[in-house]
Symmetry: C2
Subunit: 427 residues, 2 copies
Amino acid sequence: MKNIVVLGAGFGGLTFCQHFEHPSASVTLIDRQNHHLFQPLLYQVASAGLSATDIAQPIRSILSDKPNLMVLMENVIAIHPDAKEVVLENRQLNYDYLVLALGCGTGYFGHPEWEPFAPGLKTLDDALRIRRQILFAFEKAETETDPAKREQLLTIVVIGGGPTGVELAGAFAELRSHVLARDFNHIDPTKARIILIEASARVLSHLPEHLSESTNEQLHKLGVEVRSNTRVKDITSQCVELTTGEMIHAENIIWAAGVAASPLTKKLGAELDRAGRVKVNPDLSLPNHPEVFAIGDIAFVLNEDGTQVPGVSPAAMQMARHVSGIIRDELNSPGSAGRPRFKYWDKGTMATIGRSAAVAKIKGFEFDGFFAWLAWLFIHLIFLVGFRNKISVLMSWAYSYFTYKRGSRIITGLQNEDAVEKLGDTF
Amino acid sequence: MKNIVVLGAGFGGLTFCQHFEHPSASVTLIDRQNHHLFQPLLYQVASAGLSATDIAQPIRSILSDKPNLMVLMENVIAIHPDAKEVVLENRQLNYDYLVLALGCGTGYFGHPEWEPFAPGLKTLDDALRIRRQILFAFEKAETETDPAKREQLLTIVVIGGGPTGVELAGAFAELRSHVLARDFNHIDPTKARIILIEASARVLSHLPEHLSESTNEQLHKLGVEVRSNTRVKDITSQCVELTTGEMIHAENIIWAAGVAASPLTKKLGAELDRAGRVKVNPDLSLPNHPEVFAIGDIAFVLNEDGTQVPGVSPAAMQMARHVSGIIRDELNSPGSAGRPRFKYWDKGTMATIGRSAAVAKIKGFEFDGFFAWLAWLFIHLIFLVGFRNKISVLMSWAYSYFTYKRGSRIITGLQNEDAVEKLGDTF
């Protein structure tokens, strides 16, 4: 019996486990969470559009029909490729094949000290914390008497004009203008400022220029202040300092500017890119370690034309199927030489900006506005894991689309450490 | 303009605000949460049947159509009846009428030191914490090698055989037997022990004896160990010591044995009962303070036959309407003497035990099993605040009823203080 160990139950790791099956192999899937997260919709949890359980599914129940598969909820401490072993908190696991699908966390370009002041959005806990603190900022503003402090409470800064940043800024703008607008007596939520900061010349720079412009216009309609060509010099508690020296005071600062691969990659002895991604062979295996594969966000892979495979879920799922095929073939005919090269099939890319607002580039077609939004909506619904979640998410969307209300505007966890820390003066 | 201040947005405070309206009065509703909680279903969040947002609704949006009403999310520090003022964190509020609807928290009969080891179930955070720790206990058991430790991880003790305790024990039993049963490789979740401890001779002692017996049978069918006439001597970390000297080792111990009124009642100078409830006049006002009313869980009220009005939501809503009527009449014709006495109309009482299992006593009728369960289901659905929540809850119920799966089995917040504390060795 061959042991195959898979680290991480994101799109890559989960797809591998769903596809791979071989009579003479047992698979162990390890993740420190008990759930698979549909990350493309995480920003909707952060902006109170969906509830946490809508976009998460217990890993065990997704894979419960799989024989020879074991799911462990544990932390990985270290990986020793030469000993072919993975070190967990209180034991080791040996493997014949290792699939690294650990994904990326938030990266601060060498400024880890910014993290406490500008949290990223990678886990459900991140999303719930951001939602809690933004909703609570409006509550505090309602009772705040000092105008300067009130303005700070009603300012949200999103750093990074990639898909996550754009989607967050748009969602916050709608939350503020449509959802919260009617509910307060002293403050006017529509006066809340949402500022999107992008270092480069334009947002969504991976898309054609005219789609970036369309994004700018659509964000502007929603009342988001888009500031491109703007660089952050420093971030301190509730304040962003720009390279121009300008200070922006904001109760909530969200970091969507960079990612960093799991620190475990450092211990692999393989070459890494700036973000800590593993530079793999064309077949996705590690140099000198044909039995170790890296897939998804954590792998640095080049297309034949020299461009980089993007860190998106379709790429991760395609890599998972590729590796699953290689391992199955080798188990069927041991010693067979020559592995196929991974080829990324670009299904297109899209970003949603708000209610009937989005941009999309699918195959040859580039479009924006309502139709891009519809396309986005259904594609995400189709890929959302779990029947129940689809219904429930569709319902939440329909509900907020037609009523302008949101079902998930619940502040919980105010007793939690992080909350108490941040809201210390009030609680 | 008269100022009416309402403390607490539970069933009592919320109902008052929905019913009361007067051109010459403005109402201020204060709660430390931003949401109204449908407490009767809280145990379903704790047992992963429903997600937090299903049973909570933002107070602001429930009352957004109310003129002259302000909602404040703040903590009440003190109440000074003689000065007619309420003290908040950073200011005072003066009132002409005060409605106390602060409800009850968990009470430990003079053993506050038990709280960290046996949390109660009163808030969404309580429910989410219990859910997190119970689901995580199964995850830890899956990787635990020491049999004794594994048995402890798979033991849940519920202390208190009232409705909450019975409903929790039943829900945990189903979670373990139907939902988790298929998902693990090493452990057999159906082997998990669920022990319900009740000090008195029978569970649900407020119901007729034969319904308690029926409850025992139905719990037994679900595999719950019901131990009545059993008293707790001491609770320490993951251990319950009985007066018999017997020690029960359990990873999860939940306290459902007692409630205690908000400590703010102590500062009112009014007479209190053992649980700290305020002994009010027949019109629900405080002795010597006709302008202060106590309603709901926090009020100790006697029926004309000398029996006590139970601390259930229908009673709280009836009291709210009663007080709303008194204040409206006095504003219409000031100086009018003679207030009506509050009369509690008992709509009946019921408790659910599990899938198609419940007991109910409605007017003359007493029934159990499937029909009691159906009645329970629809009555709770009808009273659940908010259209969207009703649909969503009904869906979750239908989903778990027909598929034996549960949608909310997501472990979040493992980084939180309390989690780290409890799961310290693993995280």
